[in-house]
């Protein structure tokens, strides 16, 4: 199981051709208190760079961008009732989607933890 990070502050933990996707602690801290998460439905396909959801904090809306191509296989329904979980445990219980990767080679474009740490300084 390996975790990758995107420049848009998402993380993906990969096992075979399936993965779990969420936003990083750093992103959650920047957003402030999350009050609403707009998620897509299971079965939706997406392309790298496409918008796959929106996170609303008290003040502003921020888009979630797909870090690679894939298909949503499961949605974390708990976030609808408890959006603040994204502030409490963004890299654990508050995952956003399970996805099926279309092209595992795209993982090479993402960062490892050290690379991400360097990005956020």
């Amino acid at each position: 199981m390996t975790t990758y990070y995107s420049e848009d502050h998402e993380w993906i933990t990969v096992e075979g051709d399936t993965a779990t996707l969420g936003i990083t602690k750093h992103a959650a801290d920047q957003l402030g208190e999350v009050v609403f998460v707009e998620q897509q439905d299971s079965g939706e396909e997406f392309e790298k760079g496409g918008e796959i959801g929106v996170i609303e904090s008290v003040k502003a809306a921020s888009e979630i961008y797909a870090p690679l191509d894939g298909e949503i296989t499961a949605v974390n329904e708990d976030l609808a009732d408890n959006p603040s979980a994204l502030n409490e445990d963004p890299e654990g219980a508050a995952w956003i989607y399970k996805i099926k990767l279309s092209d595992s080679a795209q993982l090479e474009d993402l960062m490892d933890l050290d690379g991400y740490k360097a990005l956020i300084g």
Binding site: V35, V58, A60, A61
Partner: protein, 365 residues
């Protein structure tokens, strides 16, 4: 605007308190502190919150019959504003639009005016040009701090007993720890509280004295915005501007009876006509039924799917526990209880027109 952002006398204190600083109307201001917008908002509703509003313009007007002269540029009855009293109002333009909103106080030997930070550069020349024989002086050496919330009377009253005797919309000069301050019992959160004008040199020390009270915590612009929206108070540039009339903005309450009847202010033709016949659109409270906040510029549709207006302010209301918004709708659709649709990112969400404010105002009348 290439000027470096300006700093208030409390800048160092904001940073020391962990304030997240942002550019606001050319000023470096705290948007929130470590407590977070939600916590700061609740602090203000339940105890007391302190806001730095030093970026707003403080202006002294001196001369004969200042109140009367203000009536030539404002629809408010300032000629009859009693000494020691403050009154909300606005400058109107020749088309009946709102140029800025402001608080005017009759301070006895002068009038004290507070205008929006972003518009002080417009308002000062405007007053100079139209208030004949009045000396218009913008103050640059005083901070302005707002202490707001049900515990504000104790926070301010412990340091300044005279504050306890004040009623809503009253203003006095009083001593706080040896410093002569102007206290006005008002604010823009829907809560009881004070705005306190303090000389720059003493601003940080006095502010720390307020914050030393167990019930008082600092709050930033983020909480200020969600508080004023829940209280149904307009934000200039969002909910009101040069094109919106006070009648459209549901601010008829802020124009006193005599002025409504007599007119004699810029844009009186339009404003009196709208008072008589109603305006074509009106500012209303809007309660989305789901959890998705509806932000500024979100389209409002009637049940049949026709566009009837636009959201002007919207956020999550921490006290309400869900999204709250204000916006303009075509007048026939502006009745409380009307069901509407909000088009958020292309999807229609149910919402209802509701009476403002979203929370009960707690002023000490």
């Amino acid at each position: 605007m290439t000027d470096a952002p300006k700093r208030t006398p409390l800048y160092d204190l904001h940073v020391a308190l962990g304030g997240k600083m942002v550019d606001f109307a050319g000023w470096e201001m705290p948007v929130q502190y470590p407590m977070g917008i939600m916590g700061e908002h609740k602090q203000c509703r339940e105890k007391a919150a302190l806001f730095d509003v030093s970026h707003m313009g403080q202006v002294i007007l001196r001369g004969d019959n200042v109140g009367e002269k203000l009536e030539a540029i404002c629809p408010q009855a300032y000629a009859t504003l009693k000494e020691g009293k403050a009154r909300y109002g606005f400058f109107t333009n020749e088309d009946g639009g709102i140029m800025d909103d402001l608080i005017v106080s009759n301070a006895g030997d002068h009038y004290f005016v507070v205008v929006n930070a972003a518009l002080r550069h417009q308002d000062i020349p405007h007053m100079k040009a139209h208030l004949d024989g009045v000396e218009v002086t913008e103050i640059f050496d005083r901070a302005l701090v707002a202490v707001q919330g049900p515990a504000a009377e104790n926070v301010v009253g412990d340091l300044c007993p005279a504050a306890r005797e004040m009623k809503f919309m009253e203003t006095i000069v009083a001593d706080i720890d040896g410093v002569e301050c102007r206290l006005s019992r008002l604010g823009y959160t829907g809560e009881d509280g004070y705005e306190i004008s303090i000389p720059d040199a003493d601003a940080e020390r006095i502010t720390k004295l307020f914050l030393a009270h167990d019930d008082c915590e600092p709050a930033g612009l983020g909480a200020r915005d969600s508080l004023r929206l829940e209280a149904g108070l307009c934000l200039y540039g969002n909910d009101i501007d040069q094109s919106t009339s006070p009648i459209e903005a549901s601010l008829a309450w802020a124009i006193q009876k005599r002025r409504k009847e007599e007119g004699g202010f810029p844009g009186a033709d339009r404003i009196q006509k709208e008072l008589a016949d109603g305006a074509a659109k009106k500012l209303v409270g809007i309660k989305p039924s789901g959890r998705a906040p509806a932000r500024q510029h979100v389209e409002i549709q009637c049940a049949e799917g026709n566009t009837i207006g636009e959201i002007t302010s919207g956020c999550f209301g921490p006290t309400v526990g869900g999204p709250v918004a204000m916006g303009y709708v075509a007048a026939p659709h502006g009745k409380t209880g009307e069901q509407v649709k909000l088009i958020i990112r292309g999807k229609a969400h149910d919402a209802e027109i509701v009476a403002l404010p979203f929370v009960t105002q707690n002023y000490k009348r």
